[in-house]
Symmetry: C3
Subunit: 255 residues, 3 copies
Amino acid sequence: MEYQNFDVEVAEGCARVTLIGPGCPEMGHLCDEFTDLMLRLQEDNAVRLILIADGDHAFDFHHNLDSLAQSVGQAEGFEVLSADEEIARRIVTLIAELPKPVVAATRGDIRNMGFGFFLAADVRLATTEATFTTPDLAGGLLPGWGLTHTLPRLIGGSRALELLWSGRTLNAAEAARLGLIDRVIPPEHFEEVIDAFIAKLGVQQAGVLDATAMLSFDWEGQQQCWASRETAAGLKAVSEGLVPRFDVPTTVQED
Amino acid sequence: MEYQNFDVEVAEGCARVTLIGPGCPEMGHLCDEFTDLMLRLQEDNAVRLILIADGDHAFDFHHNLDSLAQSVGQAEGFEVLSADEEIARRIVTLIAELPKPVVAATRGDIRNMGFGFFLAADVRLATTEATFTTPDLAGGLLPGWGLTHTLPRLIGGSRALELLWSGRTLNAAEAARLGLIDRVIPPEHFEEVIDAFIAKLGVQQAGVLDATAMLSFDWEGQQQCWASRETAAGLKAVSEGLVPRFDVPTTVQED
Amino acid sequence: MEYQNFDVEVAEGCARVTLIGPGCPEMGHLCDEFTDLMLRLQEDNAVRLILIADGDHAFDFHHNLDSLAQSVGQAEGFEVLSADEEIARRIVTLIAELPKPVVAATRGDIRNMGFGFFLAADVRLATTEATFTTPDLAGGLLPGWGLTHTLPRLIGGSRALELLWSGRTLNAAEAARLGLIDRVIPPEHFEEVIDAFIAKLGVQQAGVLDATAMLSFDWEGQQQCWASRETAAGLKAVSEGLVPRFDVPTTVQED
């Protein structure tokens, strides 16, 4: 399937999704595409993890401010705004609840709604040149896209408030120090580090990935791993000092 | 109203409260004044946020140790101690539950009870020269002032224990790394950064500030913002590339 | 009592436990010894805190991979694996629930099961030369030893996932930045800093240590401290500018 807001490529267990199209997209359409895409990738046995990365724009969605400003105070305007926020909630919730690992990677300037999108991923990687800006409250609207939920969980309530209230831009080093990103990578090693991270996950047993993504441990899950052909091969390889490679189907089934 | 433990000045949406008077204050009196002051500022429409800063002493309240030591083992002594702790709880809870943002800023040495007071604010700023010391447990009393509540929430349980048990003094850089302060500022830029932070909040819509201070997002709150004159002006200004300035009444109503 | 997996020495309020024996121990035996040791130290009035430190190996327990690999897919194999995990849970829970402070200190390479053991302590100290590696998921088994519980609580869910999925090794500086360790110490000052930390806790009132270890504050606890001979002496000493020394029995009662 072709998408207008996303480009997708599946190889070696990883679906690479890049953000294309306008930074000020039609939100309903973006959400429909994203929902379709994620559900398709979740069902695809050739996909062990999903990488979402900068394409045409760097996690920098934004509202059409002119249109918002013109409709302000009108009931219809609020309907558009609340519909957009409902869409944001669906996207953020979809990412958070997806069993497969979702990794977000950026080398650009994260801001506006794209910040909420970026924070919803399981793990976040960035180059040393990336920057991070919380949405400006200057317009007099509450910060949406789940930010009052995700931001304090990642960096604590006080730091979240300081960022939301100051609206200041963080560089990658400070973002990593606070916990907004999990790893800072020099630009010249970006592809290489991401490839290694992905390669490791791409050959990993699906059951192990999904369970760790939920940070859960249960006997049933462990027993399923134990009973699987993949774990048998994995333990044998590890005991022989080899790097295990779990079977990954190589063809994508289009629905 | 004149206070013996606090100096207050309201300008451009911000109430600047500075700590004056003795570092070993009469606690009941301190609490009465603080409660009166906070409730008054909460009701004052000219106040969008509250800044609490060093004055005569730098968040360094302490018990009268001689008096404590003399009354130790006596039932009356414990009554004084527990009354003081009850006061601390009221102050800490009052700060935490106040809808308006409370920002604490220091350039001095934070310690003893003042540490609990400082940690209760929503956001904490400090100069590179500030230091932070958890109360010494050497006296054989449990750490009060809500520290066993606030400290682990800000920096995690393990780090909280390491600080409480070692009693060591942190410099500002380490305090920021751990999450005890949200921003470290060189002394020569302290006033300037605080002024900018305050100026931004001082012109912000009250509804947005109060909701973000509680890290909450709800449709009703968003709708109230949307319907307000301030947000209409704010969105218009932002869409025109201007910095919005919300109306702030300039006179303080004394009760 | 003599242990095969632990060496124990009690002096000045502190029980120093060092890890001896094989890094691939018989888990049931390790657990029996550890449970016996901890319960004995908990009951010993001469022990105010427990320090667990590197001995023959640096918190680097591991499974017998050959044996695991051979029994894979067999029901008996899973019984061994799940029995080991049940043992891990008992050890981790025992450390976490022990009222007395448990401090872990390392100068080595923490990895495999030893990582879960290390994370269970109340406070963690390490030299600048120590390294930290989450268990490799390559074998296709879920990470046990409570890691899906302790790791996100210490460093947050995203960072926990990045470590579990990448399997990369952290140096001490990054481990401290993330919150996996509470203090990094140059090797040449390691003994000295640990001795000072221990000395401070070793003379502390037991009631204060136990309550802070649980990060709890309650009036009854405070009243018990207040009424105690130790606090009376402590407050008197502090008010006179002296360092208090609480009574610590010097003989260990063997059961």
